[in-house]
């Protein structure tokens, strides 16, 4: 490549071409890194990240190495074959049971789902998918770039990026980096192919900087999934709530709880109302893998002998979830076609429930006694171990070490003891607070080692991580606590009752609930919020029952039992449809206005953004010559140190010429100093300077006196002609 660059630099005027080529290839590296990082993240979460890295680097190297040798047709054929092979591998890796489901309609609907926001992470074999897809575009785009086909190269890379953007896996920064990289490849590639000037490069750099800055500071496009890089403090940002969670939950920073009533429950027993469970931990959030299936009763209940509980849930607002006690077995009073069942066993409505709509669920609770749990053993099915002990490869080792330490300190020997140990450890070492700064990177790691406060999402995420680190299958569950009890068997559930907890797999018992969040502070926070809302007369906070029948809001009862006991209060399995709560549902967390609190260092994004701004401004300054002009403006006004008379006289004239060039017109190449000065000015002082210059440069030199006179005259002219009022005086 370098030899070729040298060849071209010989052909083109100036040594410009190699730079543009390098810049184009560098930009392609940025684009590749953008979608590569998304694919890498997938494998990081699901496993196989090293193989992915090797694949990416290996294919790129292969493409560069063979780029000059391979013919285009051969390369395209290879790419198609490799893509087909990749999909074949993916197909074979899918479990046979699911493979049977694959049909053309299914493939089509899956593709549509992927392209409309279904995360790649929800694919059952996401890592295999990523590994089989990655090589083709990397190879093709680098191969084409090496052959100077920059636009096709960008089309290939950009398509992959676009798909990942559509699936919602590429975040804002990744997308931005990828798009800017793509634009830069085309720009520099064009300059490389057709030659270009330094000015064009400057213009391109300015353009790219504007792209970055505009994209990062303006969020004009509505409904972007990710917040702008620079948070607009004080206004609600579109953070995802716990129960607004559809197929994934991102852990966010500060939230405010909604006091709106979401639904009411008539139930024979008090319980947590589960809406969703999540199996795949990404380090920053949770993803539910697999597809929902139609409801076909009865659903399999928990393995144990738990009591059946019938609940009737009435939606009080638009509800995108079907809350129910764990674990739902039958649903009635609603057409079966409106109910979907997730692979994890929770329910979700096919379409949003309208206010007033109701359904009846029968759940079989699983609340094994501590003795049962203690004796349960570790005879986990392989599938459960594989899926529910998976942690991102990027999880820091200190998390595993801390988990081991905590378990050892508590003398835990069974999974049950381990879970209890973690639960009490988190309850005792962390403070409950809704006002937190969202950590960078792994949430569990940050909560364990850097944060001293958090809310249920942090507690639950951390506990699942610790359990998985210890080899105990566990998952993340969301839903609602019981809510406000307004009658013997009736509860009113508000947004502020939304909650997240942990489900631990117990052989022969199924998924058992553990709640590491300290109950008392949580309830007081919820109560305070409710009182606030009532004081401010917010609508939708109360129902007829709560207004009439609640002199005492009877708060703590059931939850405190569950939470405050260090025992795992394995409460009734809620069965919950878990997808898509109404937008304003449950705990919609609204960023608190006082989130920052005190002077903080700018975030890395902010600094990076300012870096981009500086690069852009630098290019603009060079492009317009503003920098050189500023230096010259200072130089013009400075008398400068005295040297020998000739030098001084020459310098005096240079200042004069610069002044005149700024204010009159530039001197033409063939124009003599004398002709120029006499053409643009009739000032005697200018002539004096000119004569001193001519004598110094062309004659026998000037004496000190003449040089000083010339310097003084120029100083006078500069002062006179650069007065701020001059433009108006003319």
């Amino acid at each position: 490549m370098s030899a070729e660059a040298a060849d071209r630099s010989g052909l083109l005027p100036g040594s410009f071409a190699p730079d543009a080529r390098l810049a184009a290839l560098g930009s392609l590296a940025v684009l590749t890194a953008a979608y590569g990082s998304v694919l890498y993240h997938v494998t990081d979460v699901v496993g196989g990240s090293r193989l992915m890295l090797a694949t990416l680097v290996g294919t790129a190297t292969l493409a560069v190495a063979t780029g000059r040798v391979l013919r285009v047709r051969t390369a395209l054929l290879l790419a198609v074959l490799s893509l087909a092979g990749g999909f074949a591998v993916y197909f074979l890796s899918v479990p046979a049971s699911q493979r049977a489901l694959i049909s053309p309609e299914r493939l089509l609907s899956d593709t549509v789902a992927l392209l409309t926001g279904l995360s790649v992470l929800r694919l059952t074999q996401a890592n295999v998918w990523a590994l089989s897809v990655a090589p083709t575009p990397v190879f093709l785009s680098w191969y084409l770039a090496v052959r100077r086909r920059y636009v096709p190269s960008v089309i290939v890379g950009g398509t992959v990026l676009a798909v990942l953007v559509l699936t919602g896996d590429a975040g804002l920064l990744t997308t931005l980096a990828g798009v800017v990289g793509a634009a830069a490849v085309v720009g520099f590639g064009t300059l490389d192919r057709h030659g270009g000037t330094a000015t064009q490069v400057d213009t391109l750099v300015i353009l790219l900087a504007v792209m970055v800055v505009a994209a990062a500071t303006l969020s004009v496009v509505p409904a972007t999934r990710t917040a702008p890089v620079l948070p607009d403090r004080g206004s609600p940002s579109g953070v995802t709530s716990l129960v607004d969670a559809r197929d994934r939950v991102e852990v966010v920073g500060t939230i405010r709880l909604s006091p709106q009533v979401q639904f009411t429950v008539e139930s024979q027993a008090e319980s947590y109302w589960t809406t969703a469970t999540y199996d795949r931990y990404t380090g920053t959030g949770w993803v539910r893998s697999g597809d929902t299936s139609p409801y076909e009763e009865p659903l399999s209940g928990p393995p144990g002998e738990g009591p059946a509980v019938q609940q009737t849930v009435t939606a009080e607002t638009e509800l995108g979830a079907m809350p129910a006690a764990w674990r739902p077995t039958t649903v009635t009073d609603i057409p079966a076609s409106r109910v979907r069942v997730t692979p994890q066993g929770t329910l979700r409505p096919a379409t949003t429930l309208d206010p007033g709509e109701r359904y009846t669920v029968t759940s079989r609770l699983n609340r094994p006694s501590p003795d049962t749990l203690q004796a349960a053993g570790t005879d986990y099915p392989d599938a459960v171990v594989e899926r529910y002990t998976q942690l991102p490869a990027s999880t820091p080792d200190r998390v595993r070490e801390r988990a081991a330490t905590v378990a050892d300190d508590a003398g835990a020997e069974t999974p049950y003891e381990t879970a209890v140990a973690f639960e009490s450890y988190l309850e005792s070492t962390k403070r409950y607070s809704l006002t937190v700064e969202r950590p960078e990177g792994s949430v569990a790691d940050a909560f364990l080692f850097e944060m001293d406060a958090g809310y249920c999402t942090y507690y639950a995420t951390t506990m699942v991580t610790m359990l998985r680190a210890e080899g105990v299958p566990a998952r993340f569950a969301t839903g609602y606590t019981a809510g406000e009890r307004v009658g013997a068997d009736e509860w009113v559930v508000r947004g502020l009752d939304s909650h997240a907890w942990v489900q631990v797999y117990v052989p022969d018992e199924g998924w058992v609930r553990f709640d590491p969040t300290p109950a008392a502070p949580r309830q007081s926070a919820e109560q305070a919020r409710l009182s606030d809302a009532r004081r401010s007369d917010a609508g939708g906070v109360d129902t007829a029952e709560t207004l009439n029948a609640t002199p005492v809001p009877t708060p703590a009862d059931d939850d405190s039992v569950v939470d405050a006991t260090p025992t795992p209060a394995p409460a009734g399995g809620g069965n919950m449809p878990g997808n898509r709560a109404a937008p304003d549902a449950v705990a919609d967390p609204v960023a608190a206005s006082d989130a920052g609190g005190g002077p903080t260092l700018p975030s890395r994004e902010t600094l990076a953004l300012w870096g981009v701004v500086l690069v852009g401004v630098g290019a603009a300054v060079r492009r317009t010559g503003a920098g050189a002009r500023a230096v010259r403006a200072v130089w013009l006004r400075r008398r400068g140190p005295r040297r020998d008379p000739d030098t001084d006289a020459v310098r005096a004239f240079e200042r004069l010429a610069y002044l005149l060039e700024q204010q009159e017109r530039p001197r033409r190449p063939g124009e003599t100093p004398r002709a120029y000065v006499e053409c643009v000015t009739s000032d005697d002082r200018a002539r004096l300077v000119l004569r001193a210059y001519e004598r110094a440069r062309y004659g026998d030199g000037v004496d000190r006196e003449t040089a000083d006179a010339a310097t003084d005259a120029v100083g006078e002219l500069v002062r006179e002609r650069t007065l701020p009022t001059r433009p108006f005086a003319r």
């Binding site: 190449p669 063939g670 003599t672 100093p673 002709a675 004659g699 026998d700």
Partner: protein, 320 residues
């Protein structure tokens, strides 16, 4: 106007140089004096003076009757030096220009009878009508400052300036000067017709007796020689010399035959004289630009007028 024999050239070099201001005053005086007679040819008068001071010769290319002879005579008269005019014809012999040895019956010796070339200012009219051999005789005199007759070399008077004219009206009956010989002339000028105002004034002046008859000298030969010394001492700085080299290089790139080093030397000499005319003891780029068209145009051989090439060089080459 003196027509007296052979002027003594031996003591020419002993004249001390004039100061620049004195030389400038002298040239101003001469120009004013000549302008008494010649109307509307200020630039031409200055060019002639520059050529004289720079020890060069002039080639005037013009139609008849625009005042070439009067101009030469007026300059000669003003500095009180000898003026001769030679009308070149196809049958003119070299000896008609240089002079011949004649046997004197009384002294029984050959004695030299000098030709018209032995004068301070020689006007060679329609030089392209004479055959090449006769032209060469004059050109040798111009180049060497001496003539050789019958093996005997005789020095020409100092100063010695030739003003040759070419008639371009009847091209069929002429022997055009080859480039190599044109190169020997420092300058080539075209007087051109006077404009309306100038011609009106001219007609008024010549209404009675021609003013050339009453023109008085305003300088002596020694003044002129001193001024020539002054010109030789004018500073030619490195930036100016480099500028001239670059201009010359430009013409060599742009034209089939560009300016020779002899042309470059001629330009610097002319610029030195021009600097004295303008009262400076050093050459500035402006002097070069003033002199370049008349000194270089006739030395450039290409498909377009040499003047265009010179103008292009002047606008393109950067002055430093």
């Amino acid at each position: 106007m003196t027509d007296a024999g052979i002027p003594d050239s031996e003591h020419a070099e002993q004249v001390p140089p004039l100061s620049v201001s004195a030389a400038t005053t002298l040239t101003d005086r001469i120009v004013d004096n000549v302008e008494e007679v010649i109307v509307g040819q200020h630039d031409a008068i200055e060019h002639i003076l520059v050529a004289t001071l720079a020890r060069g010769h002039l080639l005037l290319e013009d139609v008849p009757g625009v005042g070439k002879t009067v101009l030469g005579r007026a300059v000669a008269t003003s500095v009180d030096c000898s003026f001769k005019r030679v009308q070149f014809t196809p049958d003119l012999l070299p000896s008609d220009v240089t002079g011949v040895n004649v046997f004197n019956q009384k002294t029984r010796e050959f004695e030299f009878r000098p030709g018209p070339v032995f004068a301070n200012v020689v006007l060679g009219d329609e030089i392209n009508r004479a055959p090449p051999k006769t032209q060469a005789a004059l050109l040798e005199a111009m180049a060497e400052g001496q003539v050789t007759v019958d093996g005997e070399t005789r020095r020409l008077p100092d100063p010695f300036t030739v003003i040759a004219t070419q008639n371009d009206v009847e091209p069929g009956r002429t022997y055009d000067l080859p480039m190599a010989e044109v190169d020997r002339f420092m300058k080539k000028l075209r007087l051109g017709y006077p404009d309306e105002d100038a011609e009106t004034r001219l007609l008024e002046r010549v209404a009675g007796a021609h003013p050339i008859e009453s023109l008085d000298p305003v300088a002596t030969l020694d003044d002129l020689r001193g001024a020539r010394q002054t010109v030789a001492n004018v500073t030619l700085s490195e930036p100016v010399r480099r500028y001239v080299s670059r201009l010359a290089a430009y013409t060599r790139e742009e034209a089939a035959l560009g300016v020779s080093p002899r042309g470059a030397i001629a330009l610097t000499r002319a610029a030195q004289a021009r600097a004295v005319l303008n009262g400076r003891e050093y050459v500035v780029p402006d002097d070069i630009q003033t002199e370049a068209p008349s000194v270089w145009s006739h030395r450039i051989d290409t498909d377009r007028p040499g003047r265009d090439v010179v103008d292009a060089a002047l606008t393109t080459v950067t002055v430093e």
